[in-house]
Symmetry: C2
Subunit: 837 residues, 2 copies
């Protein structure tokens, strides 16, 4: 922790009288417009006495947080102008939408973006009416709001988004308001530690403002109700220098309030400027720490300022409504005058409230903001609402992607090249990182190496601004790393989202089971993408791509708690135009898939791929063709030619199911040589849907060409089997799909036992074929019994020897290996361990 | 924050020489058994030289955290004996399973629980072999481990579980180890604030130990790499008194280490004793704060101690392996000697390591722990592994449930009694709370009142140990409340889980969309329930019941970010014997459902019910019958008698879809009087599955009795429509289901527009009937067009007037109301606002 050194003397009244007056006028205007949005249908400048007809019939929105947001906005504008800052505004309390809409309207950005909302009385009327009104705009700081990169509808991610946005944006300042409600969430509580991952020279700065307005929906907040020394300790413990500001609880003159806050803001910004300057000097002197062998440099991590901003909730609103305290109380949270249209008394309070901002002093005869007040705002892209990074797609630079084909596993004989797919991909990823050192990062909860992506450390360390110890020598830790690891999926996801939202690229890798931790964050990002697809001025972002490894079938160390393939099920509920799910069966298909994902825009890509040694089935050329189709027949694995009708289709999606299906096909070829078997592999899961449901879907004819009507399909799927039924239900009118997958049966056991517990093993697939191809069961009861015996035997062997048998020794699988062979095969598979969590 | 007062002088060497020696022997024994579990198949006491045959072929498990866990366990045992504590052990780093299995074996509990694991050499061999071995036990502190109530497989919830476990258990001490990896997670980072919700007199105490062993899987940890003053500030800021202890980084004599730690532990326990005694005195004097009108008492919140416990990772393990530092490094995380079976050098290191604990001094000739060492442990239920609360089902007391029928909405004419279902349920919930003040709590993220459950405040306040302000007068805040509100779904869920796991009862209410925040926590709890169903000595727990209100169809204030009904989809992936999902269509069915849920055991119940005014369709008698069946025909709503074949089935699940289906049925009756319509309502969603898939499922005959083969079914569903297809796919072989639901189309708009955007509105349901009943489309193109016109008209009206039209004015719905009627209907519906978030 770096103690703040002496700061320059700062005037306690940093504003000229004129500046202070203008800021106050701006604030009044922004509050007026906010209240207007919540309540008014018409009469936007109160040129007539307010009547019930001017009031919206349904009053929706949130007043409580709004005046704090507008106050801070006004002050930042002054600072931006005076200091030439490059700043944007992250609104943690996103339901304070009216405040941000008002501020961007006052700045002119809103009208530039939506020319219909003119800067006159008619425009004001439209501005007011559209808010939270059918056919209008949402109540939050949604993607429709210029300058927003954070809707704030679900609380918890303001700081993570802000940090993600300033990584590799050294000149950007993310002015980030954290509500005291949001501060209670887990993701926000850990996000303060993001400063241990921020390079003071090559990254920008986050200035957090903890807005203690004291209340949530109906409760006081925790951080507003602990002693100030405790709160100061907390923020110091988070690595910040806290600056405290309180206003609005007495009758202090507003000008004095503005002077005091300007002084606090100046102090914070001076501190930031000093830290940035220090970092620049250090960088010039080569003093940035590196964890070079033998030396133990220290990362220079400044104690960045943060502001504790304590104001009444619903500040400047009605002190009382119906005799009950409203300003400074949770009753201000939403709409303090719920009956303004129906109750004359409420209508009067509303009018008094609106008039208290004295709109006649703020807007000219046409309804335009007076120019001297408008001049409070910065100009052009210096306006926070016009900062180009907040429309990331517009500043996005293409990735330089090395040709993934160069990393191909050569396949001379199918299935004999056994590699760890993610490790192979890691070599390519290393070169992606090296080629894009300014705009690509890899995020993951302490699992980059565990997921076999450690080749990236050849070109970049992990970003680390914590202390360094002697035994870090040789470790891939450094102050400018491209790999972001913290044991919080929330943080990783939030940072990556912020990074993507500001026009950069990235990859998130995670254990499959624990990606559920960010289910709700994924939801919100998917919603952002869906909405922005409909907003022309929002340019497409790089996709959010997940690599889910350490998957359900190989949790040898960890067992049941680490076994859950359900993220796919969660994801497919979101809009089809946003969602892509890939299950590449080997290294070459993984490379091809990942290249595709990193080139894509406006999607969430979910790629599930194992890190355990896996046979390579397709040459790179075949892999590209297969991935392009997304689904296809592997003629070489079956016994019928394309176009011939099979007796049964063996379908597979996922690396482990593919191995089992190929082994089952081999068994069938030997045991039932006359049986016509087709093998279909699915890389792109969405291909299974109907073309009306998903743009990658197949129409009925395409579907039937692969899965002929009346032909039983035995489908081995990586995840919960029901999903396949859900995906094919429109095309599969014959209900001839029999799906095996993970049925939530697991523990710490051998991979083979895992398959067996879920009836996904090769022997059971053969039994399924016998059961579902008409006529087989009666004729081949003996074979069926033999299969049952074989699987019990295989499990017993694995149990007794603690090894996984029969091992996957290439697709030329044989089940008459003796133990020695099997042991050799197992050894050939390399690492017998599972994941490293 | 209460500053700690002066403490009694404590000896710096609190242990007698004998005690210190015994603790060290115990620790050596526990570590020896831990290493043995990870590595050994046989030769458990090293009576022969170690050979490769003694070593497991697959080495699985986690050594790094283990020695710290066993050290702490040993010291707590001494303290429990000396102080007569009632304590249990929460293992945040749950993958340190070997350490806890070892400790419980040494205490004897393990053998009492699993008699086959005897306290002799043969038992040791079985103890070792079974660990992380097929057919054996999982590697984590899973439910199989006596004394565990927290598996720790997914990190983040140790503190929340611990607090939940001690609420209303005033004599319990939850000794809770938090790994420095886990400490980086969001849920854990906010869980420290749980102390603002703990009553020092009527609740127990959590003693957190932050175990800084410095590393995660492959990285240093954040909290181990910030300066100690910063960490001290952080813990002080969290409201704790931090005590620091460091050991293992030099050659300090182990006895000295034990003396020092014993002193620190004594200091913490003395502090706790003092705080508890203070609280008792205050309680006796009636000094506990209450937020009575006009007075502003303060909650007396002690600065509870916590211990920062800094040791090397893999403490006492091999200093180096292959020339690379291992003890005190992340390389100790998992299995430090991965090739112990194959590499003679590793085998030698392993043997040296095992022998370094000198097992011959710890176990007698038979292999039993020496009695003088065993005496270190407490006896009977004083053993942490035998604490009855850790097997909550065994101490569970039945809830006193008032007869829910008394809260019934009287139904003289169907659909005319319009009430807010959750508010009605709230009256019953109030009386449930009042009747069970010691073992029932209501949890929710600041939404109890928003979800209309505020009647509970008539009998209990919200638990609050933060500061009190003057304007809290009249607020339902108090130091002994039964309602737990904090703006963290993680905290609410974790507390409730801890509360249930220790044999109590509760309810969690949440906004529907944001329950996804705890998707992964639900996963882990469902897994716990599934596994414990198979462990005879684990007794059934009260179910975890969610009330999801403020649902997707009524997010009038908040829009798209608050619209997500997918938790149901997530839940149904877990084992059928654990999962129950209910969609009661009105207040009476909600009451009946909730009564059922609170009586149930070992389930996760998901109940989705709106808080907006909703017609009551069934009398209580009918409601009970309907809920008992879970699905049924509403003959009164259709045009055919039971048993007669319909032309179409209109099915519905969920309160809003039920209204639309009934309105559609009315339209059909008027417009197509000859059409035979059956209306089916689903309360228990799992009834739709096949009886082979879910115990509540229907067989084919039952299914076909409701949904006759070949008869089109137009199904209006609350959530994502695909789920219905997934549920019915086994029974519905005819693919005649046409499902409408939420298709992820939403924004801030009127309720009617929400329905229309998703084609779930009454008019569109009629259009669906026309489209799917053979022959109708050709004959009734005009009617279909009229329906399309009607919906556009209805939307336009709502748009223009900002009100929701046509309103739901009882099931005797009519669409020829003029605007005045409609306005009156809207007014009759009461509150036109949406939720309060």
């Amino acid at each position: 922790m770096t103690a703040p050194t002496a700061w320059p003397d700062r005037p306690s009244t940093p504003l000229t009288a004129e500046e202070a007056a203008r800021i106050h006028q701006w604030w009044r205007a922004a509050n007026y417009l906010s209240v207007g949005q919540i309540y008014l249908l018409d009469n936007p400048l109160l040129r007539q006495p307010l009547t019930e007809d001017h009031v919206k019939p349904r009053l929706l929105g949130h007043w409580g947080t709004t005046p704090g947001l507008t106050f801070l906005y006004a002050h930042m504008n002054r600072a931006i102008r005076q200091r030439g800052l490059n700043a944007f505004y992250v609104t943690g309390p996103g339901h304070g939408g009216p405040g941000l809409v008002a501020s961007t309207y006052l700045e002119g950005t809103y009208t530039e973006t939506y020319p219909g909302i003119t800067r006159d009385e008619a425009g004001l009327q439209r501005l007011f009416k559209q808010f939270s009104f059918p056919g209008g705009i949402p109540s939050h700081v949604s993607p429709e709001v210029p300058g927003s990169l954070h809707e704030g509808g679900e609380l918890g991610y303001a700081l993570s988004h802000a940090y993600g946005a300033v990584f590799d944006n050294p000149d950007q300042l993310a002015f980030t308001v954290v509500g005291d409600g949001e501060a209670e969430t887990g993701p926000l509580a850990t996000a303060w530690h993001s400063n241990k991952f921020l390079n003071p020279h090559t990254d920008g700065v986050v200035l957090p403002v903890l807005h203690l307005n004291g209340y949530k929906i109906a409760n006081p907040t925790v951080l507003a109700r602990i002693p100030e020394d405790e709160l100061a300790a907390l923020m110091t413990g988070y690595g910040h220098t806290p600056l405290f500001f309180t206003a609005g609880f007495d009758d202090e003159d507003p000008i004095s309030i503005h002077q005091r806050f300007a002084a606090v803001l100046d102090e914070a910004l001076d501190m930031i400027a000093r830290f940035k300057a220090d970092a620049a000097v250090r960088a010039e002197q080569g003093q940035d720490p590196t964890a070079a062998e033998g030396s133990v440099p220290q990362a220079h991590r400044p104690a960045w300022p943060m502001i504790v901003f304590r104001t009444p909730k619903g500040w400047t609103g009605p002190a009382e409504v119906d005799g009950r305290q409203t300003e400074g109380h949770w009753r201000s949270h939403q709409v303090p005058l719920a009956s303004a249209r129906d109750t004359p008394e409420h209508l009067r309070v509303l009018e008094d409230w609106l008039r208290s901002y004295r709109p006649e002093e703020l807007f000219d005869a046409d309804g335009a903001l007076l120019p001297e007040i408008a001049a409070t705002a910065p100009e052009g892209t210096a306006r926070m609402s016009a900062n180009p990074v907040t429309n990331g797609g517009a500043v996005l630079q293409e990735l330089e992607l090395p040709d993934f084909r160069r990393y191909a596993v050569p396949v001379e004989e199918r299935g004999t090249e056994v590699v760890e797919p993610t490790r192979r991909m890691g070599a390519w990823l290393r070169d992606v990182v090296a080629a894009n050192l300014q705009n690509f990062r890899v995020f993951g909860p302490d699992e980059t190496a565990s997921n076999r992506l450690q080749d990236v450390y050849e070109v970049t360390p992990k970003q680390w601004m914590g202390e360094y110890h002697p035994n870090d020598a040789g470790e891939p830790l450094g102050p400018s790393g491209r790999v972001m690891e913290v044991l919080s999926e929330h943080q990783c996801q939030g940072w990556l989202e912020g990074y993507l939202l500001t026009g950069r690229h990235g990859l998130m890798s995670s254990y499959e089971a624990f990606i559920h931790i960010v289910d709700s964050m994924f939801n919100q990002h998917a919603k952002w993408l869906k909405v922005t697809n409909g907003i022309e001025w929002r340019r497409p972002l790089a996709s959010l791509t997940y690599l889910l490894s350490s998957h359900v079938w190989r949790q040898d160390h960890n067992g049941f708690s680490h076994q859950d393939p359900g993220f796919i099920d969660h994801v497919v509920n979101k809009k089809a135009e946003i969602i892509r799910v890939y299950l590449p069966p080997d290294a070459n298909t993984l490379l091809s898939t990942m290249d595709h994902c990193l080139r894509s825009r406006q999607y969430v890509n979910v790629v599930v791929a194992g890190k355990q040694p896996t046979p390579t089935w397709l040459s790179m050329e075949e892999a590209v063709a297969h991935c392009t189709r997304g689904i296809g027949t592997w003629e070489w694995a079956g016994t019928v030619r394309d176009g011939e009708l099979p007796d049964v289709v063996l379908a597979c999606a996922g690396d482990v199911p593919t191995v089992e299906v190929l082994a089952a096909a081999t068994l069938l070829e030997r045991e039932l040589p006359g049986l016509r078997v087709r093998v279909v592999n699915v890389v792109d899961l969405m291909r299974l849907q109907d073309s009306g449901e998903h743009p990658h879907g197949m129409d009925r004819d395409q579907f039937r060409a692969l899965f002929p009507e009346g032909t039983p399909v035995v489908f081995a799927y990586h995840g919960y089997p029901w999903l396949i039924h859900r995906l094919v239900y429109r095309n599969d009118t014959g209900s001839d799909f029999h799906v095996r997958g993970y049925r939530e049966e697991g523990t710490t056991t051998t991979p083979f036992d895992m398959l067996m517990r879920n009836d996904l093993d090769r022997y059971h697939l053969v039994m399924d074929v016998i059961d579902h191809v008409p006529g087989l069961r009666a004729r081949h009861a003996g074979l069926r019994q033999r299969m049952e015996d074989k699987r019990l035997e295989a499990r017993a062997h694995a149990y007794a020897h603690g090894v996984d048998l029969p091992e996957v020794a290439g697709w030329q699988w044989s089940d008459n290996q003796d133990e020695a062979d099997a042991g050799a095969a197992a050894a050939r598979m390399g690492d017998t361990g599972g994941d490293n969590d």
